[in-house]
Symmetry: C2
Amino acid sequence: MSNKNRQQALQLVKQLCQQRGLKLTTKRSNILQLMLTEKKGLSTYDIVDSYLAQYHQKISPVSVYRMLGFLIVEKLVHKISSNSQYIVCSHITCSHSHQMPLFLICNNCNQVEEVDAANELPAALEKNIVSTGFQLQNKALELHGICQICKNI
Amino acid sequence: MSNKNRQQALQLVKQLCQQRGLKLTTKRSNILQLMLTEKKGLSTYDIVDSYLAQYHQKISPVSVYRMLGFLIVEKLVHKISSNSQYIVCSHITCSHSHQMPLFLICNNCNQVEEVDAANELPAALEKNIVSTGFQLQNKALELHGICQICKNI
DNA sequence: AATGAAATGTTATAACATTGCATTTTATGC
DNA sequence: GCATAAAATGCAATGTTATAACATTTCATT
Ligand SMILES: [Zn+2]
Ligand SMILES: [Zn+2]
Ligand SMILES: [Zn+2]
Ligand SMILES: [Zn+2]
């Protein structure tokens, strides 16, 4: 994300936190900024390292977990559970709500692209499981493969 | 899985290993049997505990990882990466090959049901990602929710 | 300034996974 | 049968991801 877009995103998040009565503390903000500069998924410990590099300040993994927890609850960040990494929600700059995000995770470069399930996909999925009586809760799909950039290298 | 079906599955796996020139050692077989008795996903360490309880013999986590690795390579076992658990492939008793398995994982009881994507689902998924240039590799979908049994409790 | 709630720090530990090397088991050629 | 090599397993150490328990700091409210 470009510097300008990052500033804009941060501004919007600030507003949003104010609306919700939440505190976007310096460290929470720093972590979010840090994540906004990356299109890649980051592990908790990646963030710890990156935080030190960027802000010349140590932060403990425990704190990072807690701050990620905060950001996830507020739907600003997603956890990619298949590889224990975290990304900023692609909808952070818009009010757009999710229905069924698809995470396209590159096994080569770790980039994660978040797109929305469109057309008949949600219905097709539902149709596939309705006979089992299973009730879907987490509707995000984590898809692993090779991104366009890596494919063309 | 019933005792009879388990014996049958084991018999088939034995044959299959012979065909492929693989050794289904006692411990590998024990682990597979152990997993066949469960519809739940098991973690590596669950298997360590269960192995001790069933066979009165200690086995190290490292060994379990290796044996799971063997079973996964041979497509007899799946890893559910979103919760680090392992299940026997539902197709173990048939020659049926996968195209796109759906793992329906109960967040309450941990049961995993493996069903095959049917009808327009694979095509719908492909249609959703084709414009991104992303090339899907691992086509399994891990879906979290509540199973029928837990829903009705 | 006193108070209390939220955030953050600190330490320990749980849970999941891999590496490297030693030993045992098994298959194979002589 | 026996030597040899390869495969499987054991074992110790370490790495990675995550949470629990408790202490301290920060900050708004009174
Ligand atoms: Zn999102
Ligand atoms: Zn890539
Ligand atoms: Zn399967
Ligand atoms: Zn259940």
